[in-house]
């Protein structure tokens, strides 16, 4: 049982189900830097189940300058231990542990260590170790989140083979009203409407949905040979007809509401293309006893759609002008249709489940799926290996992005080159103040070689950026670390709760002008 009072303000965002998922999750942080610590702080506060900090470093003077939780008394002690200690203080419901081993060593020698986590946050890992880890996690379908803050620049990359979302929670979901293709009960109700028999009070309070269904049918039978309006002229003519049925258009809000959304209503019903794509995914066609519940339900959705040519109805209607009784009746019709659809959908799911030999899917889950069916989402990330391998890197895309003025992608290139630099010289450029000037040409040659590998013209990365990054000397500024910690933890919450749509797949923050862009690399 969660702490409803303490978590009240966030439960209003992701609900008890999202909270339960958070509380079940165990998250690993590699390297307790300022960025890593701030990320984890924002996850411990809302109550993840547990965390483990892996860090072979001892607390140094530079940690004190940018990590809020470390003070002088921590100097020389294990950073994993101290960070873990301070984070545990933030929430007594969260279990924290630390591992003082060098993460690179762990990755190379005992990678199965990472199998137990629900998500891994990697910070400041050399490219080779990062690649190895990402491959391992990829095979085990564990999300990896890579985050770096480097001076004024922040970088974030999410990696997971497949991320399923039932509750994408769009900003302004429109109700599925089926005015264009009314279901039987709605049509019958509209058929019964006799506008002439109504007094003026009643006339102005017929819900516009009923009006629209009624008048559309009348218009197409009387004036359009039984066809729905399809051309612009036909639609205009229907609109005139609709308005002409008002006693006094200026005074009848129900008619005004009808006209407001008339162009949308006259669009033929269609299933959103991304939902079609999900239904046509091979995973829905090839079910087995190991299929995820998600894919079983998508397969059931496809069957439902094949039978009815529509998706299950959600059954909600907006707040519209209407007298109470008509409104309640209308609500009832939609509601009953929705629950009939849900029943049918549930029985399809159950028969699929038994035919492939899976355990039953809880009815609450089926209900949730059914309710959100128009907003399903699926993100398939590209792997880091595909991104890092020149043959599969998206060079053309990067070129087009880098050609934009002030593109933030340039920082991605330079940060990749920084890792190359580290690989060659075993230190970071500009790390020692005296060496900044000497390091700039070395870093530049790393940039050049990376760009050559990727077949990107070297002119697309100006020297200024290389100088800027060298000047940062691999440092973390607390303020940027904190901001990136905020962005990263937000995406982690989306991944863990399976609500909202997470970034796909890279995010660059530029603190010099407070801009940020997502890139698909």
């Amino acid at each position: 049982m969660t702490d409803t009072e303490k978590y009240d303000r966030q439960l209003r965002l992701w609900g008890e189900e999202g909270q339960a998922r958070l509380e079940k999750s165990h998250i690993c942080l590699i390297n307790g830097t300022a960025t890593g610590t701030e990320t984890l702080k924002n996850l411990v506060l809302p109550g993840i189940g547990g965390f483990t900090v892996v860090d072979g470093n001892k607390v140094s003077a530079s940690d004190l300058g940018n990590n809020f939780f470390l003070d002088k008394s921590c100097l020389g002690l294990s950073r994993a231990l101290k960070v873990c200690e301070f984070l545990r203080e933030l929430n007594d419901r969260v279990k924290g542990s630390s591992c003082e081993e060098d993460p690179v060593h762990l990755i190379n020698e005992k990678i199965s260590f990472f199998k137990e986590f629900d998500l891994v946050i990697a910070n400041r890992l050399p490219e080779a170790a990062l690649t190895t880890l990402s491959q391992y996690l990829w095979e085990h379908n564990i999300p990896l989140v890579v985050v770096v803050s480097y001076g004024y620049i922040g970088y974030l990359r999410l990696v997971v083979p497949e991320h399923q979302i039932v509750e994408s929670k769009p900003d302004t979901p429109l109700d599925d009203l089926r005015i264009y293709n009314p279901f039987k009960e709605l049509e019958e109700m509209a058929d019964q409407l006799d506008l002439k028999s109504l007094n003026s009070q009643q006339h102005g309070h017929v819900p516009y949905i009923t009006l629209m269904v009624h008048l559309l049918k009348k218009w197409k039978v009387d004036s359009n040979g039984g066809k729905m309006p399809s051309t612009r002229d036909e639609k205009e003519s229907f609109k005139k007809f609709f308005i002409s049925n008002a006693n006094s258009f200026q005074d009848e809000e129900n008619f005004q509401e009808g006209v407001k959304g008339i162009w949308k209503v006259l669009q033929p019903y269609s299933v959103p293309s991304d939902i079609v794509a999900i239904m046509n995914d091979p995973k829905a066609a090839n079910l087995s006893s190991t299929s995820d519940d998600y894919w079983v339900m998508v397969a059931a959705l496809k069957k439902f759609h094949e039978t009815h040519q529509v998706l299950p109805l959600q059954g909600t209607i907006p707040d519209i002008t209407a007298d109470t009784i008509s409104y309640i009746n209308l609500q009832k019709i939609y509601h009953e249709k929705a629950s009939a659809d849900l029943d049918e959908f549930t029985s399809i799911v159950n028969s699929l489940v038994s035919s492939v030999g899976k355990t039953l899917i809880p009815s609450e889950m089926i209900k949730k799926f059914c309710k959100n069916v128009r907003f399903l989402n699926l993100v398939r990330y590209r792997s880091l290996v595909d991104e890092f391998t020149p043959a599969t890197a998206r060079s053309a895309y990067m070129i087009s992005e880098l050609e934009q003025p002030d593109s933030n992608l340039v920082f991605y290139i330079v940060l990749r080159a920084v890792e190359k630099f580290n690989n060659i010289y075993n230190r970071y450029p500009g790390f020692n103040d005296e060496e900044v000037d000497a390091d700039i040409p070395l870093l530049k040659s790393c940039v050049t070689s990376l760009l050559n590998d990727l077949s990107i013209p070297t002119t697309l990365v100006k020297d200024d950026y290389i100088t800027e990054i060298a000047r940062y000397g691999h440092c973390e500024l607390h303020n940027i670390a904190s901001l990136m910690g905020g962005v990263t933890s937000q995406e982690v919450i989306k991944l863990i709760t399976h609500q909202y749509v997470p970034l796909d797949n890279t995010f660059i923050f530029n603190g010099i002008n407070s801009t940020a862009n997502p890139y698909k690399l």
């Binding site: 966030q10 209003r12 701030e38 302004t172 009070q201 905020g486 909202y500 407070s514 862009n517």
Partner: protein, 627 residues
Amino acid sequence: MTDNKFQNIIDTLGIDTFEKIRSAKVLVVGAGGIGCELLKNLVLSGFRDIHIIDLDTIDLSNLNRQFLFRKHHIGMSKAKIARESVLKYCNNSDDIKIVAHHADIKTHEFGPNYFKQFNLVMNALDNLSARRHVNRICLSVDIPLIESGTAGFLGQVSVIRKGVTECFECIPKVPPKEFAVCTIRSNPSAPIHCIVWAKMLFGRLFGLADDSNAVTDMDDNIVEGDKDDTDNVIRDELLPLAKQKSYEQWVFHKVFYTDIDRLARMTELWKEKKPPRPLVYDELFSPDGQQTTTTTTTTSNGINSSSGRGLKDQVVMSFQENINMFVESIRKLQVQNEQNGALTWDKDDNLALNFVVSASNIRSHIFNIPLKSKFDIKAMAGNIIPAIATTNAIISGLIVLEAFKVLNNEFDKCKSTYLLKQPSGKRLLLPIDPEKPKSDCYVCSQNFITLKINTKTTTLSQLLNDVLKKNLSFHDPILTVGASLLYEGGDEDLSKEEIEERNKLEQKIIADYKMPDNTILNVEDYLQNFKVSILIIHCETFDEDGKWFDISGKQKDQSTNNNNNHDSNNNNNNNTEDDLDDLEIIENPVDMQIDASSDKSTAKRKEIESETSDSTKKHKLNENNEQ
């Protein structure tokens, strides 16, 4: 040596900026979600002379994001504990000076003179009136202000500088939904109407006496007719009997029987819907106080109670459970009332919340309105805005980046930045250049507004409290017309007689007190260092139900319009004949807010860059956002 740990900052920002940071004196207004993060970021960015002020105390529901507070701090001052925690973590406290005030920013102690000592003010507030207040003072003493707010996954940061950027009040704020009194009292049609009613009932039963609260009159038992028309009046004779039995039975009978019976008899109200049905206490409870029957359970579209872990508060209680809760909460509240005097309603006080939950649900049942869960009612009654750590972290980071620019006097580089829920188009953060000050802003440009009001019925007290204080956020207005002083507030030096005299004055109708149609009223607030002229226009009808006054800004003629000069002293006594425009200004920011649980709230959002998809909007956040 101490600066050593800031070497990274010196390397990245340069020594000049760093020196400015070290010598800057800044004020953080608010020690909540943004305030905590901001204080941490400021200290770790090298700021070392910080004042922080907050009037609030720590609550359990803060702990999911306000990371400087622990359970054992509940009930203590946010500002003081935030200071303590930061200094504890920073260890080398002698280098950092943080002054914490557990106080209301809107008091004389923190007037313009107090503000003058700072290089920069940062707002981390959760309410509109304090934001307006700080905005006015910062403008008056010409101190740069960074304004910010978050709501769920959304957030925004902007820089306000007199004469250079738009001020906080240049853009009229969204009028929160207000309900007509008759909807609340006689004809509810949605759960929110019953919730508003229940809060008013709470005030009536347990709060301070308030003549404007007309929710019910406890001893009035007339159910039909008028008390002056003694022949035709019908009374509920059961009410005095109920009063003798017990307090809770009296209240129950009065609000769910007598008042409902009266409404049900107004047949013209119920032509289109089922009339409300009065409830009889004894039918619901046997004489020993036990419930007799399990009457019908009205379910609603709430969350199914069978769901696995089932958070209790998210389940819609049955009608009978509501009845029981209502009676029990009245009993307990009455005891509290006797012990502690008048109570104020607080969404985090479980007993007070239980009262509103049960009272509103019973009323909903009576009027055939769906019942709601405690969780939902809390959000609607308490105007709760979701809040999480992640958003506050991002916004606080952005505030500090703007602070660097402000200290460097680089106002040309300052941005207003909007944080979106998910990347839209190509952005998650949307930085835009700040707007120029609006030439018709009554705060930073023109100091002139037009007020339409019924001058023949409105009292001075209503003008003062509802219009000037609640709506226009004046703290302590002084009213003059021409050379004559009409009203001055403040209690300090007044004798009892003088106060009585003034109370009498406040009951005067404004038309009878030198403010008839077409008067120019000058209002001044010393604390805010703010002056405005108000043209009063007599008006008897308003286009919306429940509205009884209308405020609009005033456009200067085109020739002066382009002049974005920030000369704000009133030059406006002579332009009364200009046309009025329809600039809307907030109606009633404080009490009734839109349903905060809904993302598609009625918040008026200012669009930008209309070329992209409709989600690329400049989200002008609800000004009451929480952090």
